[in-house]
């Protein structure tokens, strides 16, 4: 089972979901409070890398989620590997775009 790309897309979807759920309270707290102060601390390379990682996790979770919706609501079955590849491509694309923008 672990050889199939669908297993890895499932795993990335789950782990990115947990990471996003953990990140959100921190994100909201920072937005509410740091907006009155300085955001200079976000210029640190490690923070920037963390931001990049969480944005890629968001894109990966979106890709994985769209795949789940397609599997459950559309009648395809033989497209599973293509959907997994599309989910991965979305995450890589967003990751590259953000890396260029940062």
């Amino acid at each position: 089972m672990r050889q199939h790309p669908s297993y890895w897309v499932f795993m990335v979807h789950r782990v990115s979901g947990i990471a996003l759920a953990a990140f959100l309270p921190l994100h909201f707290w920072t937005l509410s409070n740091a907006i009155n102060g300085s955001l200079a601390w976000t210029e640190q390379p490690l923070v920037k890398f963390g931001e990049w990682l969480i944005v890629v996790a968001l894109a990966a979770h979106l890709g994985g989620g769209l795949r789940v919706l397609a599997l459950e609501f559309l009648a395809w079955r033989e497209w599973q590997k293509s959907l997994a590849a599309a989910a991965a491509a979305l995450a890589v694309g967003v990751g590259l775009a953000l890396a260029l923008a940062l």
């Binding site: 789950r14 759920a21 937005l31 509410s32 907006i35 944005v55 979106l62 919706l69 967003v94 953000l98």
Partner: protein
Amino acid sequence: MSFRTQAVLWVAQRASAAVLAVCVVVHLVTIIYAVQGGLTASEILARTRGNTAWLAFYSVFVLAVSIHAPIGLRSVCIEWLRWRGASRDLVLLVFSAILAWAGMRAVLALFA
């Protein structure tokens, strides 16, 4: 938990996912656009403050995520932690309330 409640949670998870799919695409585009040239508090506020369209958009985003994240974590609790019973759902309900409260607080701080 009754079959009916489970069905409601399943529908809520998919419905919130559909809303979030749109929100996340908009959010990702905004992030990539906004981070160019670095972020400062004053630059962010100049873009956000008093903008009711974005206020409405991010309010929907926050409320959808307050539904979506706890239901997703519920599956993780059941399958990976084998955590069953009322305590699990109570903790997830509190988590949902924290997300909604903290999220709306952030939205109002930025956009109101």
